[in-house]
């Protein structure tokens, strides 16, 4: 009988202990972030979509070798190589002379890709392309707020994207997502 009463008291006490925790946290400062007005500060290490890394001249470091497209588990990359430029008549003459001498003609095709098509709808952000790039021309952006109205908004041409970032051409809203702004 006494034991039962004591049990009831201890049972009730367990509820009071729980309420004390609630009271402590009721007065504690807010831990969440009011999102549209404030953004979280921990997205620096977040992996967003892919981007091409620019070299010193602003052109992409990429050498169009296609290792990334080969390594990609979900086939979301397509590298379009540049066509060799049409030789001028003088060059053609030089080429013919070189051929007559038995020299191999130098490949003057620029190595950077004409197009680097990236389908973000397929990408699972595993980083295999990045690890297999021989020149380190790929990187992840930290863009966590990418949004679009249609499927096509997530098909990027990364060469164009790099140009846009360098400010060479007009900004394209869908192609250059804004990164987190702390205050609005």
């Amino acid at each position: 009988m006494i034991k039962e009463a004591l049990n009831t008291v201890s049972d009730l006490w367990s509820l009071m202990v729980g309420l004390r925790v609630t009271k402590d946290y009721f007065r504690a400062p807010q831990v969440t972030v009011r999102y549209p007005w404030k953004a979280v500060s921990n997205i620096a290490t977040y992996k967003g979509h892919l981007e091409l890394v620019g070299g010193k001249t602003g052109k992409p470091k990429c050498i169009s070798c296609g290792m990334c497209a080969l390594a990609c588990p979900s086939n979301c990359l397509t590298v379009v190589k540049r066509k060799p430029p049409k030789p001028t008549p003088e060059e053609e003459q030089a080429l013919a002379e070189a051929k007559a001498k038995g020299e191999k003609p130098k490949d003057k095709t620029p190595k950077d890709p004409e197009k680097f098509i990236y389908d973000f709808t397929l990408c699972s952000l595993c980083g295999t392309c990045m690890e297999n790039c021989p020149v380190g021309a790929l990187d992840f952006t930290g863009s966590a707020y990418l949004a679009g109205y249609s499927r096509e908004d997530f098909h990027f041409d990364l060469v164009q994207l790099l140009k846009n970032q360098a400010g060479l051409e007009g900004m394209d809203a869908s192609a250059a997502p804004e990164t987190g702004q702390s205050e609005a």
Binding site: T22, Y46, P73, S124, N132, F140
Partner: protein
Amino acid sequence: MTTYQNNDHLAGDFYTQNFAKTAGEGNLILNLGPQHPSTHGVLRVVVELDGEYIMRAEPVLGYLHRMHEKMAEVKTAAQFIPNMGRVDYGHALGWNWAFVGAAELVGGIEVPERAEYIRVITCELNRIASHLLWWGAYLLDLGAFTPIMYAFDDREKILDILQDPTGSRLTYSYYRIGGVAKDLSADCIRRIQEFIPWFRSRLPMYKDLVSDNIILRKRIEDIGVIEQEVCRRFGATGPVARGSGIKYDVRRAQPYSVYPKLDFEIPTSNLKCARGRYDVRMAEMEQSLRIIEQALEMMPEGEVLVKGAPKPSWKVPKGEGYFAVEGARGKIGAYVVSDGGKNIYRTKLRAPGYCNLSLFAEVSQGTILADAVAILGSLDLIIPEIDR
């Protein structure tokens, strides 16, 4: 004139019709799921009810089947790693490890020691995150809303830590064949060191807030008693087996990586009921903290990826191997058979949740419907992992 009326939708599908054949007179057949909040996804359980008592229950699987094993046959070993993060969103790194470990076993690749320690640290952090997710969601099932807020506050800190090396927050694809993708930064290590004492101070709070609470105790004590014999028969592992008093943990039973060097205990409970499984998971979080603490101290400097690590075009040498790791839900296994070709010939994934769920039919017999939901939650089911 009679008008044709299609009553097919009332007859039920194959499973219901098959199930109904042996149903008792006047009993009700009810579908729990596939879109029921307490099943955490698309698990469907067909139950036969007599009043509120469950006469029979039959889980129906396959609503979330994504043919991961088939996909392994059309990808090279390294290309398959991202899939493993998607099998189980709760403990993605455990699955990463199982497959990578099996590929390393067949390929005979040594992993640098630092990478082994990093794997232990990240895997254990992921285990804590997984248990916290279960804890919050389980109490949500039982009708307590606020605990998930406390759990996610802590879980968020782990996700922030894991985001640094892995770059993602849920579906990690971090381990590579022959090591890990990225070293832990000094900032990341500092944050883990800060997290350990902080989380230790939170565990008594969990105890005060929920574990000792009389309402929870009355709710989960003595329901869903799983005998050891049942566990063994169905192949249950992880906290489900340990909650019944079976001291089985892959980290000790089939030691892998650097776990033999680490000092930790395997918490078990002899209660055998839902409360036992609850206690085991709470104690496991504490043990995981101990493991992380020791691993951080013992972690040597050096490479994190072995020199000449396999490229995506790497062909797994001819042979076969099985590698098992201890996941948050039990024994995760990957069995890899290679014929030396471009892709792996066959990959079999052993999901702990599948075995843990299969004993539900037996355990739920004779309980009331409300208790069945509590039992289902105590098994810690993650449906994508069960269906694969």
